[in-house]
């Protein structure tokens, strides 16, 4: 199908973008790899698309002391090739090849994926596991939101009307800290049946699952468990995965335990 008609604007500065986004029926166009399919299928019909891909200040990855700051417009391919990410955020480096396919990773952006908050997407679980901070910018200035407070429901986030996700700040992984990223999908690049982004530091773990709820979620009970068997049992308290077209809830829970088992020895 073809998209319904809409107006299009490509601002050159953040302030201009925020002005445009305040108009009724305006929607952000970043990489477009989820938005354009939904336009093509007429699941979404904005009046105005504000193409933010010209905002240079929202691009790039830099290490600032112990924090990696990733601009929201950084593409998956740029994250994948980044030496800073490989060295300081190995969890993210491990996750990116699972995102869709090369041609999509060349356009899709980290900020776009997080702001969409697809429950089966990789990045939301990564930022939860890494306890990242998401930077939202509105007309009144910047606001920092912890990843744990950012995802509020199915495709719902803490971003307010007129706010734009501008950057992601993540603490660089330190010596002795460990991470693991695992995903089950029927074909490479498909949306996950279930996936796990896991991080361990100083004896505490953060286990973030995706494809297992209406949003990416932490599994606090399993993370607290002392051994694998009790962690797997505790996972039943943490997750009640909704069934999808192909997998029953019980199947997903079983697979979530399988991933926990595979990750456990790496943490």
């Amino acid at each position: 199908m073809k998209a319904a008609s809409f107006a299009y604007a490509k601002p050159r500065a953040l302030a201009e973008a925020l002005e445009l986004l305040a108009r009724p029926g305006a929607k952000v166009l970043a990489g477009g790899q989820s938005l354009i399919p939904s336009l093509n299928m007429r699941l979404s019909a904005p009046e105005l698309l504000v193409d933010i891909t010209g905002l240079e200040e929202l691009k790039g990855i830099r290490l600032d002391k112990d924090t990696v700051r990733i601009g929201a417009l950084t593409t998956h391919a740029e994250v994948e090739r980044s030496e800073v990410v490989k060295k300081h955020l190995p969890l993210l480096a491990e996750a990116v090849p699972h995102i869709a396919h090369p041609a999509i990773r060349n356009r899709g952006t980290m900020g776009g994926s997080l702001a969409l908050a697809d429950p089966a997407a990789e990045y939301p679980a990564c930022v939860l596991a890494l306890d990242a901070t998401l930077v939202a910018t509105g007309k009144k200035g910047e606001r920092r939101i912890k990843a744990a407070d950012f995802f509020t429901g199915l495709f719902e986030t803490a971003l307010k009307e007129g706010e734009l996700l501008t950057a992601i700040e993540i603490k660089a992984q330190k010596q002795g800290e460990k991470s693991a990223f695992l995903e089950l999908a029927r074909r490479h690049g498909d949306y996950a049946i279930v996936g796990l982004a896991a991080f361990a530091a100083n004896g505490t773990k953060r286990l973030a699952y995706f494809g297992a709820a209406d949003r990416a979620v932490l599994a606090p009970n399993a993370a607290k468990a002392k051994d694998l068997e009790s962690a797997k049992a505790a996972l039943e308290k943490d997750l009640q995965p909704p069934a999808d077209l192909y997998h029953a809830s019980q199947t997903k829970l079983h697979l979530a335990k399988v991933l926990l088992e595979r990750a456990w020895t790496r943490l």
Partner: protein, 157 residues
């Protein structure tokens, strides 16, 4: 009424300007405005890879990019890359290995394969399969396509 915008881009080395609706996808622009029908339209939601084209040197889905977003960009299609000879070895290997039947997916396959060889000149079969995972072929079962790309990677193409 559709909002239309002046859009100027370089397609296969030629500068073109058209006034087009904002909602027009890049692949529809190439096919309907420029008669470059080598890039195919399959699923129109980014799953099949038949519309793969190159924008500023990187492969993208032609159905997941608006033509107005290509304003100022350099776009290359199967037509341009065939004429320039860049795909010659892959095309010969696809032919030799029977790596196509109906040919609908082939332009996208060739662009994805060339992109792989550009970033990784010696991929193994798993890496070839992973890189082509976003390009569907409904005839060949992929075996011959992977064979053809492997042949070029091994310098035999």
């Amino acid at each position: 009424m559709d909002e239309t915008l002046d859009t100027t881009l370089n397609v296969n080395g030629t500068q073109v300007t058209r006034r087009i609706p904002a909602r027009m996808n890049l692949v529809d622009f190439l096919r309907d405005e420029l008669d470059l029908t080598g890039s195919h339209v399959g699923c129109e939601h980014g799953v099949c890879g038949a519309c793969t084209v190159r924008v500023d040197g990187e492969i993208v889905r032609g159905c997941l990019m608006l033509a107005v977003q290509a304003n100022g960009c350099k776009v290359e299609t199967i037509e341009g890359l065939s004429d320039s000879g860049e795909l010659k070895k892959l095309q010969k290997a696809f032919h030799d290995k029977n790596a196509l039947q109906c040919g609908f997916c082939t332009p996208g396959m060739l662009l994805a394969a060339q992109d792989l060889l550009k970033h990784n000149p010696k991929p193994d079969r798993e890496q070839i399969r992973a890189h082509l995972s976003g390009n569907y072929c409904r005839c060949t079962g992929y075996q011959a396509i992977v064979d053809a790309i492997e042949e070029v990677a091994n310098g035999k193409g």
